[in-house]
């Protein structure tokens, strides 16, 4: 924590950093709204009711995992499989949580417990940039990033999408059926930070399709999701060309929704 205090002098003025946070959060807000709306459409197309789609957004609150859950449910995957794959897909938050911990360890336990549920790729990216600019934690900034920029628009947009989706008689004519696979492949591209990810993605897709043709889509998805990473690990670390290790600021930016770009941000000092 001493390093955090020490870095305070080199940080920008708090108000200036908050203004910048708000500007960056506006971009996240817009994209979260658009993406959440599309999630609502896809969920409705897969048979989710408005309450079910909204429950995913409030309780799960993880875009990629929610889109994936739409696919799991549509493919008939049993709930234990859905839960297992969700746990694996969301395990990256562990790294975000660990990266934030030194900044907020002096905050009350209950506050940190609530903050944890709102920790997403986007809130991590916005918050870490803000904390590093000012050289200390500023929970006001965290709540703006996590609630105002992400949680509220994501949930409102989900509700809008699922309600609008329910009123569309022929979803296929409006291309709604391609939203899910397109979102999945787009999110996968956003997670590629080196050769290992590329190999894992291609292997996962290949194994997934082959096994799906033999044993059904649900089994194929599990097989692809579990075997793909193992194949990716066959690439030696020296040849992986990893550009954004998980949990780092660079990684957060890669995960962020469109709009979250911090090209002129300061280097990553670490608290």
């Amino acid at each position: 924590m001493a390093d955090v205090q020490g870095a305070a002098n080199s940080g920008e003025d708090l108000r200036a950093s908050r203004r910048r946070l708000i500007a960056e959060a506006a971009g996240i807000l817009v994209s979260a709204g658009g993406f959440g709306f599309l999630y609502g459409l896809a969920a409705r197309d897969a048979g989710f009711s408005p309450i079910e789609a909204l429950a995913m957004s409030t309780l799960g609150f993880a875009g990629a995992a929610q889109f994936a859950a739409v696919g799991y449910v549509a493919s008939g995957l049993a709930w234990p499989g859905v839960v297992l794959l969700t746990a694996l897909l969301n395990a990256r938050h562990l790294l975000y949580s660990a990266a934030l911990a030194p900044w907020v360890r002096d905050r009350p336990f209950v506050e940190r417990a609530v903050a944890a549920h709102l920790l997403t790729d986007e809130s991590f990216a916005l918050t870490m940039a803000h904390f590093r600019r000012i050289g200390r934690a500023d929970m006001w900034g965290y709540w703006v990033a996590a609630i105002a920029a992400t949680f509220i628009p994501w949930n409102l947009a989900t509700l809008s999408g699922v309600l609008v989706g329910g009123s569309i008689v022929e979803p296929r004519q409006f291309g709604i059926d391609v939203i899910f696979p397109a979102a999945m492949i787009g999110l996968a591209v956003g997670l590629v930070t080196g050769r290992r990810e590329i190999v894992a993605a291609i292997s996962g897709a290949t194994v997934g399709v082959i096994v799906a043709l033999v044993a059904g889509p649900a089994i194929g998805i599990i097989a692809g999701g579990l075997v793909g990473p193992a194949v990716g690990l066959l690439i030696p670390a020296a040849a992986a060309h990893e550009t954004a290790p998980l949990g780092s600021r660079a990684s957060a930016e890669r995960y962020s929704m469109p709009g979250a770009r911090y090209d002129d941000a300061p280097p990553e000092p670490g608290p």
């Binding site: 079910e52 839960v83 391609v178 939203i179 492949i185 999110l187 996962g204 999701g225």
Partner: protein, 109 residues
């Protein structure tokens, strides 16, 4: 109104919250073996790619799963290209939907 999946949403919360909270609430116990962290980093791309590929290339029929080739390939491929090029997922999704709409209006797929 159907509410079955609310329980599934709660289960998803139960397995997601620990990874979000572990580091914040109990600093120090978040250190997993390096190989496990490397594996976790690759899970996301692999699962998402598998989901996309299965959704586009496999259709369920009464006779069992069948390989499928159609307009969806083009739409999803275009989304992949746009996201890789512009780093903008929303733009990629809009592109995919637009291709699907136009293609179907033209009688493709």
């Amino acid at each position: 109104m159907k509410t079955d999946l609310v329980l599934l949403a709660f289960l998803m919360f139960l397995v997601t919250y620990p990874s979000r909270a572990l580091g914040l609430l109990t600093p120090g116990i978040d250190r997993l073996p390096g190989r496990a962290l490397e594996y976790l980093q690759l899970v996301g791309p692999a699962i998402l790619a598998a989901l996309a590929a299965v959704a586009v290339m496999v259709v369920s029929t009464d006779a069992g799963p069948r390989f499928h080739f159609g307009l969806e390939w083009l739409a999803v491929g275009a989304c992949l290209a746009v996201v890789a090029w512009r780093r903008n997922l929303f733009l990629g999704l809009v592109t995919a939907v637009a291709i699907a709409i136009v293609g179907r209006m033209a009688g493709l797929g």
